[in-house]
């Protein structure tokens, strides 16, 4: 009962975060800042949903596999994000910066 409640709150919070991340991707002005909004769905949202699913599964092989998924996400998602950002910079995509900041040379 308590475990059910905890796991459902985790899953619902994760789902809410993913919606908020989606809203942010539409609200933010350019590619680079949208990446930050996607970052919330990447990290805490995925972690909360996996934690909720793990609580449903209890201490078993399934939760071990969920833990592995989380560990791999922790390694792969920043690598992919960095590759994307670096490719954008190399491709001469200028970030929209605030105020009078120096131009960024790729």
């Amino acid at each position: 009962m308590i475990v059910d409640f905890a796991s459902w709150s985790c899953i619902i919070a994760g789902a809410l975060l993913s919606v908020i991340g989606g809203v942010g991707m539409h609200r933010f002005p350019d590619f680079y800042s949208r990446m930050h909004a996607a970052g919330t769905t990447d990290t805490l949202c995925a972690a909360l949903i996996l934690l909720g699913l793990g609580l449903q599964a209890g201490l078993s092989l399934v939760s071990f596999k969920l833990l592995l998924i989380f560990a791999f996400l922790l390694f792969t998602s920043p690598t992919a994000t960095h590759a994307l950002a670096n490719a954008a910079l190399q491709g001469n995509l200028k970030p929209k910066l605030d105020g009078d900041q120096p131009e960024v040379k790729p």
Binding site: R27, Y32, G39, T43, L68, L74, A85, Q101
Partner: protein, 162 residues
């Protein structure tokens, strides 16, 4: 040698955890595949203190706990910026020093920056790192060097790049 042994234990634990079989026949087959993998890894010469940093295990675990706390705080900050109406962000690019002297330390630092929402590492140069930050405060937090100072890496290692 100790790297091979610890990698073997890790691989075998992974095999058991993923398959869930504990019959003797299947266990011995799993053991055989682990041994084959270890032999190949040894032949390819990819098992060393950098690819498999067992001497950092404890510090890496502690750092992961620290990083998860940071990620939660940073997520909350970005969520607030998304749901508050009006202009809430002021994106900027900052160059930060890269104090780590091993490749592993640099990778951990750059990935930690990217993992915390609000900052993305965009380019790694020889001794600086270029970061796109969502707001002034997030850039200031990074500039304070708190994250950089807790990155686990060997202090007394000789493999400085270039």
């Amino acid at each position: 040698m100790k790297h091979i042994i610890s990698l073997g234990i890790l691989l075998f634990g992974l095999w058991v955890g993923l398959s869930g079989h504990i019959e003797p026949l299947l266990l011995s087959l799993g053991l055989a595949s682990v041994v084959l993998t270890l032999y190949l890894a040894h032949r390819m010469d990819v098992v060393d203190h950098q690819s498999h940093p067992i001497h950092l295990t404890f510090r890496l675990l502690r750092f992961t706990a620290f990083l998860i706390r940071k990620i939660v705080v940073a997520n909350w900050d970005v969520v607030k910026r998304i749901i508050t109406p009006g202009k809430t962000i002021s994106p900027r690019m900052v160059e930060l020093p890269l104090p780590q002297h091993t490749d592993l330390g640099r990778v951990i630092y750059a990935n930690s920056i990217t993992l915390t929402p609000g900052t993305v590492s965009v380019r790694l140069a020889h001794d600086t790192i270029m970061v796109h930050a969502l707001a002034k405060q997030t850039a200031e937090v990074l500039r304070s060097g708190q994250l950089a100072s807790v990155i686990p890496e060997d202090r007394a290692s000789g493999n400085k790049k270039e």
